[in-house]
């Protein structure tokens, strides 16, 4: 069994927490890590886990619903729609390069050399 995906909210990020959550959930849904029909965590549970207000998580879920990625049913929770927009191969590559560029920039800011940055990625992949 693969480890379950995690959501991360950074308090000192200028992006509002609901938007941080929305972006991560969109990525997880479009890359099918959260599959069609899968249930998202209940509002209060996710808000409690992240130490956020319930309204913040509710706003994220509303945005996802407006984008046609999830649907909410009273008593049935919030689930991913049956056929969410798929992440194309080219888009997946573009996102991977974008994330790699962000990582490299952070690594350079830390003052590490090329080899150390590559080893850190290899170590993270091995974990």
């Amino acid at each position: 069994m693969n480890p379950r995906p995690t959501l991360v909210v950074t308090a000192d990020d200028p992006t509002p927490p609901y938007e941080q959550l929305r972006r991560q959930l969109v990525d997880l849904i479009r890359s099918r890590v959260i599959g069609p029909g899968d249930r998202l965590p209940p509002l209060r549970q996710l808000a409690g886990d992240l130490g956020l207000a319930v309204g913040t998580v509710a706003r994220t879920y509303r945005e996802l619903e407006s984008a046609g990625l999830v649907h909410s049913k009273r008593g049935g929770g919030t689930r991913v729609v049956d056929d969410p927009p798929h992440l194309s191969t080219s888009e997946r590559q573009r996102l991977l390069h974008q994330q790699a560029a962000i990582y490299v920039r952070h690594a350079l800011l830390l003052g590490v050399d090329r080899q150390a940055a590559i080893e850190a990625i290899q170590q993270a992949l091995a974990e």
């Binding site: 379950r4 995906p5 959501l7 991360v8 909210v9 249930r39 998202l40 965590p41 409690g48 886990d49």
Partner: protein, 294 residues
């Protein structure tokens, strides 16, 4: 109201629990405990055992007070209530993340994932039996010879003679018992909700760890406390009711049958009582290993 019997049941329950707890300590630590921060394990355990200790004290005080056996009748439910309160406070003591970076696992946690299925079904059955029995005894109760409502059972044997028996588990006993059991059920629901909702802890490396084993342990204790809360009064009320029904010489056949059925059911309720005590005193019992989150 069956005083010596209730005292014996309480003492027996404690003895069974201590024996099972000692046996459990001889077993190696479950592999699924690995990774859960000691602080969380310790805090929830301290509160849970604090609830058990407070329950023993409160039930001891209650058992020695209260008019006409009311205190003794409430001793066991109050013990269960204290255990539930201990679990509830322990679960609330696990604080949500406060750091700059907060993490959550994408998962749906539900109460049924953590409840011990067979024990919870058995406890629900016992609770339904207690409610049905109390409704029946309350409806059948009459004032006793001193006018205390619902403390006697009377049957008109002939137009000129009436036969009676007391004490009877009518409203004099069933109302306070019902209130304590209701408070216990509400506390159990709150505790189970908090067991599910509280955030997952992080290890010193900042990674979220699976603490499902702790949640199952707490849910076991909640179910066990509900079992004690319901079963001891059920046994007591069953015995008093059976004694009342069978003591009336002009009783109909249905009373005889009901009385003997109540006596026959004491054995399974005793088994459930031992099972519930085991769940409280040794909540590691039969906890399943779980996959770590990270």
């Amino acid at each position: 109201m069956g005083g010596p019997l209730v005292v014996a049941l309480l003492a027996g329950t404690g003895l069974i629990g201590v024996m099972i707890a000692l046996l459990a300590r001889m077993k190696p630590r479950s592999i699924s405990d690995v990774g859960v921060p000691d602080g969380v394990t310790r805090t929830t355990a301290v509160w849970r055992w604090g609830g058990v200790g407070a329950g023993v004290l409160v039930s001891g005080v209650a058992g020695g007070s209260g008019a006409l056996g009311r205190g003794l009748m409430l001793a066991a439910p109050l013990f269960g209530l204290c255990v539930l309160a201990g679990v509830l406070v322990g679960e609330f003591s696990v604080r949500p993340p406060r750091g700059q970076t907060r993490q959550a696992v994408v998962e749906v946690r539900q109460v049924r994932d953590y409840l011990p299925r067979q024990l919870s079904r058995a406890v629900i059955t016992a609770a339904c039996a207690l409610v049905a029995l109390l409704l029946a005894t309350t409806a059948a109760g009459s004032p006793d010879d001193l006018g205390r409502a619902g403390r006697g059972l009377f049957r008109r044997c002939s137009p000129t003679s009436t036969e009676g028996h007391g004490p009877w588990a009518g409203s004099f006993y069933s109302f306070p018992l019902g209130i304590v059991v209701l408070v216990g059920v509400v506390t159990a629901v709150l505790a189970l909700r908090q067991i599910v909702r509280r955030p997952r802890p992080e290890n010193p490396s900042g990674l979220i760890v699976s603490d499902d084993v702790l949640r199952r342990r707490a849910a076991n204790a909640v179910t066990g406390a509900c079992g004690v809360l319901v079963t001891i009064p059920l046994i007591g009320v069953s015995l008093v009711t059976a004694a009342g029904l069978l003591s009336i010489t002009c009783r109909p056949v249905s009373w005889t049958v009901t009385g003997w059925i109540l006596i026959a059911l004491i054995a399974p309720w005793l088994v459930l009582l031992g099972w519930s005590a085991a769940a409280i005193f040794s909540p590691r019992y039969r906890t399943r290993a779980v996959q770590g989150v990270s």
